[in-house]
């Protein structure tokens, strides 16, 4: 199969009015000649972590299929919501935010996956750092699986960098499996040049007391698609996510995040903070899905979008689905300019409007960048932010 695929990705878990044009996004990658089909290697591996390199994509998903009886334990009396789209992703080894078409692309082009396994009980003493250092014209498609066995903990940092004026393509699939009591911290920082098309497709499954913590920064690239679907399969599993983004020029950012609560007392906490400038556009989809049986669960999703130009387009689709009485779900969104009151406060300290805006952009992004554990990559990210502000 060629890569002339018109992919339908980031499909909203439930469809809504077509005139909003938020039900899905398309991704065309026929313009790229993809030469690189393997993931870069980690700089060094912490003790207790092993890696299996370059496993074909379809084969790599086996670990999820083997555990499907736990990840997707059948739900008695499940009723579909109106406009349900889950059927289109049902053949994925693990459901991801961008969905089945990414799996199709990976398989048809022969992309491979590096599988990192953290042994039972191991608390990795340093992060696994994977750097995609892209050159102008590079096009790469690859993936990782992070498998944290019982009661282990690991941090993975993935950085995407290139020169500021470079163009190219980076497509990455990262799938996470946190077994009982395990914790995976995944940090992704995207500092690509202005001509880069980038997608980041994340899927996750947490078993009993398993945790996934995601920190993502989307700062560069001209077209970025990112999706995460985390399956909180069993009791007391936790998904936390912090995203910071900046979209400039005529760039476009497209987001689809889902926390699928199945286990009891599962927590899903998602925060999205970002800034839109110039002619930038952004579509945010965020879904909290309380399945029947997820009693005692808490889901919270907060979006804070700062709009700094009159030509931006901001679309927001915050969805809560619920078939369980004993849950607490919340969503909040604040969208607009810098608040007048905050601006006044800054001005009373002698800070003019332009500077106040810069401070606020930096504040938003720095607060997410501050969560990066690897000092070198954190510094790089902070420096990138400093430069664009």
């Amino acid at each position: 199969m060629s890569n002339d695929l018109n992919m339908k990705v980031n499909v909203l878990p439930v469809l809504t009015y077509n005139f909003l044009h938020v039900n899905d996004s398309t991704l065309q990658i026929s313009d790229f000649n993809i030469q690189e089909l393997n993931s870069p290697s980690a700089k060094e591996l912490p003790a207790g972590v092993t890696v299996e390199k370059a496993v074909p994509f379809a084969e790599a998903g086996e670990i999820f299929r083997e555990n499907n009886d736990r990840i997707l334990a059948p739900i008695d009396g499940h009723v579909e919501p109106n406009g349900d789209t889950s059927a289109r992703d049902k053949d994925q080894a693990l459901r991801t935010g961008m969905g089945a078409d990414v799996d199709g692309l990976m398989t048809s082009l022969g992309a491979t996956v590096d599988i990192y396994t953290v042994e039972e009980g191991v608390k990795a003493d340093k992060p696994i750092v994977i750097s995609y250092d892209m050159k102008n014209g590079d096009a790469s498609l690859s993936g990782q699986i992070i498998h944290a066995k019982k009661n282990s903990e690991v941090t993975v940092v993935i950085a995407y960098t290139s020169d500021n004026d470079a163009s190219g393509f980076v497509g990455v699939s990262t799938r996470l499996f946190a077994e009982d009591g395990a914790k995976i911290n995944l940090v992704k920082t995207q500092l690509l040049g202005e001509g880069f098309v980038h997608f980041d497709d994340i899927g996750g499954a947490c078993l009993s007391d398993g945790k996934i913590d995601l920190v993502t920064l989307e700062l560069g690239g001209c077209k970025t698609l990112t999706g995460a679907y985390v399956n909180l399969a069993e009791k007391e599993s936790v998904f936390t996510s912090n995203m910071g983004y900046l979209v400039r020029g005529d760039h476009d950012l497209d987001i689809n995040y889902v926390a699928d609560h199945r286990g009891k007392k599962a927590q899903g906490l998602m925060q999205f903070k970002g800034v839109l400038m110039d002619n930038a556009s952004k579509t945010f989809r965020g879904t909290i899905d309380f399945k029947k049986g997820s009693s005692g669960s808490v889901g919270d999703e907060q979006e804070d979008a700062l709009l700094l130009s009159e030509d931006v387009i901001n679309k927001t689709m915050p969805v809560i689905l619920c078939q369980e009485e004993d849950v607490e779900g919340r969503h909040g969104a604040t969208i607009g300019e810098l608040g007048e009151d905050l601006l006044f406060y800054m001005q009373t300290r002698g800070i003019d409007e332009a500077t106040a805006k810069k401070i606020m952009i930096k504040a938003r992004l720095d607060s997410v960048a501050g969560l990066i554990p690897d000092p070198e990559i954190k510094q790089k990210t902070l420096y990138y932010i400093q430069n664009i502000v």
Binding site: R349, I351, D352, E353, I359, D366
Partner: protein
Amino acid sequence: MSENSLLQVKDLSVSIDNELPILHNINLDIKPGETHVLMGPNGAGKSTLGFTLMGNPHYCVTEGNILFEGQDITDISADKRAKAGMFLSFQNPYEVPGISLGSFIRNAYHNQTGEPVKLLAFKKSLKAAMDILSMDESYADRDLNVGFSGGEKKKAEILQLLMLKPKFAILDETDSGLDVDAVRTVSKGIEEYQKKKDGALLIITHSTKILESLHVDYTHVLVKGNIVHTGDGSLVDEINANGFERFVKED
């Protein structure tokens, strides 16, 4: 209209969003080094005056004007007023995640002076000011006002007062919601400001706790948007004893 006035308010009337006026014909004349107190019952318009003097765009000056060092500042924005040497301490300062208290002050200082900030010297003077306010050094690295208690927020405002060294500061209900110890610490900070500089103050308050240890030159009583009485520092004691009743009746 004396030569050395710092802040002059002439026949000032103010309304919010073009609704009915809240302040009527306010006149004030504050000279360098003077401490003025503005008192009055709740809803009298005290905070409105503070916001108006500092240039909050919600408040419209319908009549009169405000002069600072002889320049008419009625129509200029808040940041320019701050650069000219004015300061307003907020009753409810804003929480700004992602920017630390220390770097915020450094930013503000740099914006006001236009001079590069010498990091070491800055840190030293920040620490000195924090000591006066019994603030733990770690507060400098915490996000601005985020998760601060009421008292910590007020201290952070006074810290900015000490660091930015304005010529004229308006303190809006800096004592409200504070316990005895915190009031003492905050007034220590204000005393420090009075001591060090030729700085003038307008202290807005509806209680007298904070004024106990401070020298006060003038006291103004604001009732229903009018200054109904102006006296010296001893007026504070009288109000402390008898409340505002006398002035409300006068009105």
